[in-house]
């Protein structure tokens, strides 16, 4: 892809939020701006996007978010939840007539939406569920349409009723229902011609079918690749003909399928199935959560959050542990290493130090003072120490330093300098608990969500 992926964009936006610790209205807005762009790139209708985003904003800026430990994560969850609930319900089913009565289903949609294929797929699916469907060729206009339905019907093992192209669709439908009664078919599926929603004459034809035969369910087939116009199309079909549900076709492509959200938003009708391929068995139930993932490219973000959740749990444990150790005036190489790890997780030293309250340092000073390469080397030095040396800095000696220098691949002078630096830090740390006092959440520890920086 030539584009920066939406997932990346979202991740970047949310990363910004996560690293700040507190979620302000401004933060939510920034993140939702990315969400908005993501939805638009997924072809969700502009107006639907606007509505959606303002809804999420209301929820996100609420207190539950501000009180949460991980605000960025909350925004992702809210966005995802909202999408899922908007597109739900899961497992919506076509309503069949009770008992032995035949259910008449009328399929409709634009040209090329995949109606005929979806119709045959639906018939095949109902057949496996124990229904006895009959396919009816009511598309008398498109060359080859009847033939296509016949071939597809044969492939799924469902009989096809046709009367050529010289009878009206109403007459064909009537005759088909009669035929179904005689032949014990309990589901009659009418494949109608594709038409434009602004084609009055053709739309009237569908209205006529509904007037003259009892249609129990009308299903709109919508191409998953449809752009902004999906709302107009679905809205018009629903208004003029009245639909009971939607089949989303061509989901096996790489379209993000924002049309699903648009159509749902404008019709409020459930999405029954999605067409996942060209094989006639490729009709699957609709899962709103998968669709939400797809539209937002959220799968990655969600797993990222999971990972973050895990690491935060660990961090919290160690943080608590370390805090109590520090209060006792203990600070060893393990703590030093842990601090460095936490900093790395937070995305670089200078950004963190820049946020530290009361450090009296400007970002430029910090960047000059601490080289991140130095930190890497320090890490190597600690990693070259034995467990004993790390836990008990006092036992450090010249032979030990020599061995460590070899292990870390540095000169012994560098190790010397580092050990000296560490001892100074240690001294500082011993004084710190008193400096920090016991104020919860206000000091350096609390304010940064349990992170500390012993430098």
């Amino acid at each position: 892809m030539a584009f920066e992926s939406l997932t990346d964009k979202l991740q970047n936006a949310f990363k910004k939020l996560r690293s700040k610790g507190l979620l302000t209205q401004e933060d939510v807005k920034t993140a939702l701006k990315e969400v908005k762009m993501a939805l638009l790139e997924a072809d969700v209708n502009f107006k639907v996007v606007k509505q959606f985003v303002s809804g999420v904003e209301e929820r996100a800026v609420g207190s539950d978010v501000l009180n949460g430990l991980n605000p960025g994560q909350m925004v992702v969850k809210i966005v995802n939840d909202e999408l899922v609930s908007l597109m739900g319900p899961e497992n919506a089913e076509i309503e069949f007539q009770p008992g032995k009565a035949a259910t008449v289903i009328m399929m409709c949609g634009l040209q090329g939406a995949g109606k005929t294929t979806a119709t045959a797929k639906l018939a095949g699916r109902l057949l496996t569920k124990g229904k006895r469907p009959l396919l009816v060729a009511c598309d008398i206009y498109r060359p080859g349409a009847i033939k296509q339905l016949q071939i597809n019907g044969q492939k799924v093992g469902v009989p096809v009723f046709e009367m050529g192209d010289s009878n009206s669709p109403v007459d064909i439908a009537k005759a088909a229902i009669e035929h179904a009664r005689k032949n014990d078919n309990n589901v009659v599926i009418l494949d109608t011609a594709g038409r434009l929603h602004i084609d009055d004459e053709m739309m009237e034809e569908l209205v006529n079918i509904k007037k003259n035969v009892e249609v129990h369910q009308t299903i709109l087939v919508v191409d998953a690749m449809t752009g902004q116009d999906a709302v107009t199309v679905a809205g018009d079909f629903n208004e003029r003909i009245g639909i009971d549900g939607v089949i989303l076709s061509k989901m096996d492509g790489d379209a993000r399928g924002g049309a699903a959200l648009s159509v749902k938003a404008v019709t409020q009708k459930p999405i029954f199935y999605v067409g996942m391929g060209e094989k006639l068995t490729d009709l699957e139930p609709f899962y709103p959560d998968r669709m939400a993932n797809r539209i937002l490219g959220m799968g990655d973000v969600l797993s990222l959050i999971e990972k973050a959740e895990e690491s935060i749990d660990i961090d919290e444990e160690t943080s608590k542990d370390m805090a109590s150790r520090l209060k006792k005036g203990k600070f060893d190489y393990n703590d030093y290493l842990e601090s460095m790890k936490q900093m790395k997780n937070l995305g670089g030293l200078s950004s963190i130090l820049g946020m530290l309250p009361g450090m009296g340092l400007k970002t430029k000073d910090i960047e000059g003072a601490i080289d991140e390469d130095d930190l890497k080397r320090n890490e190597a030095i600690i990693l070259s120490m034995t467990k004993e040396e790390r836990a008990n800095p006092k036992i450090m000696s010249l032979p030990r330093k020599g061995r460590i220098a070899k292990g870390a691949g540095v000169d012994i002078a560098v190790v010397n300098r580092f050990v000296k630096q560490f001892e100074q830090t240690q001294k500082m740390m011993k004084q710190m608990p008193g400096m920090l006092g016991g104020k919860k959440g206000k000091g350096m520890f609390g304010g940064l969500g349990g992170m500390r920086f012993p430098f």
Binding site: M37, P143, G144, Q148, L196, M225, Q228, D229, T232, E278
Partner: protein, 285 residues
Amino acid sequence: MAGFFSKIFGGLSKIDEDFYEEIFEKLVMGDVGVRTSEEIVEKLKELVRENHIKEPESCREYLKDLIKNEMKLDEDAYAFEKERSVIFIIGINGVGKTTSIGKLASMFKNEGKRVLLSAADTFRAAAAEQLNEWALRAGVEIVSGKEGQDPSSVLFDSIQSAKAKQVDVLLVDTAGRLHNKKNLMDELEKMNRLINSYYPLVHRENLVVLDGTTGQNALNQAREFSEVTKPTGIIMTKMDGTAKGGIAVAIQSELKIPVKYIGVGEKIDDLRRFDAGEYVDSLFD
């Protein structure tokens, strides 16, 4: 110019962020896409600065010209219509490929050319029947194979027939499997090689058919087809509905493939040469 411009350019009294946001919204609503819409807005901002435009009103022509110039066709865009040519019609299922071929065939036939159709879509059920029907309507000849037959063998027969009959235009229908399926890509490549070896020196034209109601995925389609063949133009179908087909602007700007024809209906003469002016006007209707 009722609608958009009167609303935007008449309603807003100054050029500010709200103004640009509304232009952006209108572009996105026309399926131009986020990225290209942002680019256009940026360019417009630049023009406004450079030309010291103060009135939203005068922005109108600048914006339209901006897009029109992008979409304008080269002078030789339709040169193939005058030469002996092979036209590959490429596109995924349901975009109106076969219908477009029927319309093109009829158009060329009416211009007094000898036209031959090649039904090389042997994949979709009844594709050949559908094309046959169009051949009848247009009054042109057709070479077809059986469902499941190797499309290249149908093409080979078509080439032989085209040579023997000295046809002016050979229109080749191709299978419309979704563009992200490798098989189709391989198939197209094979057919390409076949033309190069057995029917060289003809003018080659590869027209990608895109559904005017498709959103951002149309760009992916055009991009992926570009990877196996060199598209020389686009046929934008279903432009008679309410969809604007704005993705063509993004395709032109990113892939430099121009729109050459638009389909505006189901009838055999509902195919037009692309008119950038009309298109841009309708984009902002």
